[in-house]
């Protein structure tokens, strides 16, 4: 099986989808001629022409709004928002139109769009280039929210998202584009070409939305993670020697509650980790669900390890980022509780 980076896998997913279905169109800022700032669409315009892969002006609201109209008529737009931090102008269209179209039209229309966007910190982007806004989308009924953590899943999930009849917010942790970054910023990241999860099938395949994967089996505590945090969790488990089971959620909406509940019932302990801020973060939803469904199996309170409730600082990036040390501490506390 070929090995590739997450960028190549994402590009491959769009390539396969465009090849298979003429209704798939790809556009966004710098996406056509330039091939995207992270190179995710490189070569697609050459291959499919300017009518199917093209540049849009810096108009996030207009881009997403137009995509919704295209989708209502039956096209399948896969648009890129250059950084998740730029999506807010489009938020109105996403919430008020995309998420409601099916409901509002009594199911006559659906909105098969995918909005891809790089998320997360770790590149010294500061407050406007580092955010993880997933909870702003999981809070909206009518959206699906996907966060891949490796090239294999990125390709399979993106193809599934493009083929899905409803709007999908596809969040790409930018620190994972080139390798499984585990929070140890002081050392180089293993490239995907040397990692088993860098192996990606050629051609068409899907990873179903709503299905988590178990990254590491364990019996002492369940770590619920997604995106970059799954590797932080791996590092923390190794460094503390705690036999943690790590669940990579892969899709936040729909959520694979069965896998979560089965694991927590087995381990009796649960730590939730995400890079986004704590208050009203997706971790709050996870913690609530775990206590609701696993209350009599819990040996300790559900812990949350997250970014702080502040903007993402420029200088103190690694104080903000919930790395293996912070997660390790929470794991120990949860084991001792």
């Amino acid at each position: 099986m070929p090995r590739m980076t997450m960028i190549e896998a994402i590009r491959g997913a769009m390539d396969v989808s465009m090849d298979k279905d003429d209704d798939v169109v790809v556009f966004g800022e710098d996406v056509g001629y330039f091939g995207g700032v992270f190179r995710c669409t490189q070569g697609l315009q050459q291959k499919y022409g300017r009518t199917r892969c093209f540049d849009a002006p810096i108009s996030e609201l207009g881009i997403v709004g137009a995509a919704i109209g295209m989708a209502a008529y039956g096209l399948k737009p896969c648009v890129e928002v250059q950084f998740a931090d730029y999506v807010y102008p489009a938020y109105d269209q996403i919430v008020s139109e995309a998420a409601r179209l099916r409901y509002r039209s009594n199911g006559e229309f659906t909105c098969p769009i995918v909005i891809r966007m790089p998320t997360g910190g770790g590149i010294f982007g500061g407050q406007t280039h580092s955010q993880s806004p997933e909870a702003l989308f999981t809070h909206v009924s009518g959206l699906k929210v996907v966060v891949p953590s490796n090239p294999h899943d990125a390709k399979g999930l993106l193809i599934a998202s493009i083929e899905d009849p409803d709007p999908v917010i596809f969040l790409e942790p930018k620190r994972l584009y080139n390798g499984p970054f585990d929070g140890h910023h002081e050392r180089p990241v293993t490239p995907w070409s040397k990692h088993p999860l860098g192996e990606v099938p050629e051609g068409h395949f899907t990873v179903p939305l709503g299905k988590a994967s178990i990254l590491r089996e364990g019996s002492a505590v369940t770590i619920l993670a997604y995106g970059t945090m799954v590797y932080v969790a791996e590092a923390a488990a190794e460094e503390t020697g705690i036999d943690a089971e790590i669940i990579d959620l892969r899709t936040l909406l729909p959520l694979d509650l069965d896998t979560i509940v089965a694991s927590v019932k087995k381990t009796g302990r649960c730590v939730v980790v995400h890079e986004a801020t704590l208050t009203s973060g997706f971790g709050a939803e996870l913690a609530a669900l775990v206590q609701q469904h696993c209350f009599y199996h819990l040996e300790a309170p559900v812990a949350r390890v997250t970014g702080w409730d502040t903007p993402y600082p420029h200088a103190q990036e690694w104080d903000y980022f919930p790395g293996p040390a912070r997660l390790g501490l929470a794991l120990r506390e949860t084991m001792e509780a």
Binding site: Y33, P57, I58, L61, Y86, P89, F124, G126, Q316
Partner: protein
């Protein structure tokens, strides 16, 4: 400048009821003091950013760093028309704007390196700095966002009945954001003293103006809101100054907003990691060698014998010393203390 000056014109759909449209002014020759002041200001910006580029290469600056090199005449010419209290607001290509507002090179450079002596205590980085004292309202990383804010600053001026003007800068790419037009409408409706300065450097990241804009004459972008606009050779500091005089007078006399399209060019990549595959080396070289804003002034100063080569070298040395001091500070000043994580947070 070939691309701009010839076309310089005013486009305002006037029906006679609105203000009579301003005419693009001819560049007025500078006197000796003006030439030398403009030269020094632009040189400081250039050397400052060259140093920032070096520090980035050495790993002292991380993340984003958008250099303004090539565009210096724009902020410099506009600065020459300001009075006490005028506000400036811009996007993320902001280092020269801050220097033009007399903010300290040390404070700016230390912000780039993420140190506690930076204007945002190191927590903002290159794109996010402010100074109340110097009337600089940021430093904004979200394309177009500052345009609405600048409009609000202008409202505040009118409300307070001062004579101040809001200098609201944005790029050719930002000119396609919806909120720009919401702002235009309000500014014109309420006759707000705001100069919308569109720095048209022909590219928004890797996308050229022609691939993103249906109307590439940015001075016309206010036409349907009855906002007049002028195209200006933004590589000639005298042309910028002349347009700035006109625009500030326009605003201060209560005629409402005005647009200045500054036709300019950035020599460097969009940010520090830019493969620059979207334009040719020749295009960049041509602008550098034929239209450089600093070289233009230098040639005039030497020709008029207002300074000798040696005088200019001494000036360069003076500027380099300021930059060296800022760089030294930015490398030695400590990073913010961990306790800073939770300061300036709304609770």
């Amino acid at each position: 400048m070939a691309v701009a000056a010839k076309k310089a014109s005013v486009r305002s759909k006037s029906d006679g009821k609105s203000n009579s449209a301003p005419v693009a002014p001819k560049p007025v020759d500078f006197n000796k003091e003006q030439e030398l002041a403009a030269y020094r200001d632009m040189l400081l910006m250039r050397r400052f950013e060259e140093k920032a580029g070096q520090l980035y290469g050495m790993g002292f600056i991380g993340g984003f760093c958008h250099l303004y090199i090539g565009q210096e005449a724009v902020v410099t010419g506009l600065k020459m028309a300001l009075i006490e209290g005028d506000q400036m607001i811009t996007a993320y290509r902001d280092h020269a704007h801050m220097l033009a507002m007399d903010m300290s090179p040390r404070g700016v450079m230390a912000e780039l390196t993420g140190r506690r002596g930076g204007y945002s205590k190191g927590k903002g980085g290159s794109m996010h700095m402010f100074s109340k004292e110097k009337n600089f309202y940021g430093g904004h990383g979200i394309v177009g966002a500052q345009v609405s804010l600048g409009t609000g600053l202008a409202f505040a001026n009118r409300y307070r009945e001062n004579k101040n003007v809001s200098l609201t800068y944005f790029g050719d790419g930002a000119a396609n954001q919806g909120q720009v037009y919401e702002s235009f409408n309000m500014a014109s409706l309420w006759k707000l003293p705001v100069i919308y300065i569109i720095e048209n450097n022909r590219y928004a990241m890797g996308t050229s103006v022609s691939r993103s804009s249906a109307e590439t004459d940015f001075s016309q972008r206010g036409a349907s809101f009855r906002i007049p606009g002028i195209q200006v050779d933004g590589m000639d500091v005298r042309a910028v100054k002349a347009a700035a005089d006109l625009a500030t007078e326009w605003c201060r006399s209560g005629k409402g907003p005005i647009i200045l399209e500054m036709q300019t060019y950035r020599y460097r990549g969009h940010s520090m990691s830019d493969p620059a595959k979207y334009r040719s080396k020749e295009e960049v070289q041509k602008m550098r060698s034929e239209h450089d804003p600093i070289e233009q002034v230098k040639a005039r100063v030497l020709e008029k014998k207002w300074a000798s080569e040696d005088d200019l070298k001494a000036l360069d040395k003076e500027v380099r010393d300021i930059v060296a001091d800022a760089a030294e500070f930015a490398q030695t000043d400590p990073e913010p203390d961990a306790s800073e994580l939770y300061t300036d947070i709304t609770h």
